[in-house]
């Protein structure tokens, strides 16, 4: 499945010689951001309530969860406190997509401010010391896992996920 979008973006990738570490971290963030936003846009509203089994999140709840997570990771990385409840409060596809995009916009600025020089700066996360880049990359990893969930949901609804769109 995946890899097509990875290849497409990788082909266009130019890593700053001065910032190879933070440049790579931004690359993976931008990749998963594009995948998740496109997935949220692609799934029809009628399937936002779809869940493969009763005990898991619906597609819409996954979108809201990823949105909320952007603040949970990026606010500490920025040194701010920020509450978010997109998963619980947004009900329609339009509200969830808007909440998702707004959340990524918030994170965009945090990632953009990261350089190799400040990547190892200590930030407080759940009361512990972590590095700025570590927190932000955990955000990317977390979002990618949930994008993986979304991929299977999309496939079960007969839709090709964004990361495979260019491979067929």
């Amino acid at each position: 499945m995946k890899t097509a979008i990875l290849l497409a973006i990788a082909g266009a990738l130019t890593v700053s010689a001065q910032n190879p570490l933070s440049g790579d971290a931004k690359f993976f963030y931008n990749m998963v951001k594009a995948e998740v936003v496109r997935s949220a846009e692609k799934m029809p509203e009628e399937n936002y309530s779809f869940k493969p089994t009763p005990e898991v999140r619906s597609f819409g709840q996954l979108v809201g969860h990823v949105a909320d997570a952007q603040y949970e990771f990026c606010a500490p990385a920025k040194g701010e406190k920020k509450e978010s409840s997109v998963e619980k409060t947004a009900k329609t596809k339009a509200e969830l997509v808007a909440g998702l995009k707004e959340a990524f916009s918030y994170c965009d600025a945090v990632y953009a401010s990261m350089t190799d020089a400040n990547a190892a700066d200590k930030v407080k996360f759940f009361g512990r010391d972590m590095t700025k880049m570590g927190v932000l990359t955990f955000n990317t990893v977390h979002a990618e896992e949930h994008y993986g969930n979304m991929v299977t949901y999309l496939r079960m609804k007969g839709l090709v996920p964004p990361s495979s769109e260019n491979s067929r």
Partner: protein, 168 residues
Amino acid sequence: MKTISTLMFAAFSVCAYGQTTEATMLKNAYNGIKNNITKMAEAMPEDQYSFKASPDIRTFGQLMGHIADAQGRTCATAAGSEMPPSASSKTSKADLVAALKNSFDICDGVFNSLSDEDAAKMITAGRGGPRSKMGTLWGVVVHSNEEYGYTAVYLRLKGITPPSSAGR
């Protein structure tokens, strides 16, 4: 599915006894997904390795083989060692579990030897690049988490709780 708190519990397990550095955070993220994928492969019954959530995608077994191949190839290149044999033709649970273990054995050496000093060394491994050694290894973690996200839904569809959600 996985929550941020679960992810962070894993992250802190390393930070608790070691200095919080970029390399230790990466190693911890790697060990987290290694644990989840290893347990997942063991938890799925052999007769479900041919299961696929929709007709046009990989079976569970094919996804396990894909993860093994992606990890093994990228880490072998990063290590400058011989490429492992492809798992793409494997279908039995025993063979695929073994292929996964082999890929993790290869990756263990690469991840465990990474220091902050050689993190920014530019290499070409896996797809795309060149990329920093740390970025390449984060790419392994990101990709494996995405694939895990697909297959977590497969497990749910078979009535099995994914390892990242077990005990909650």
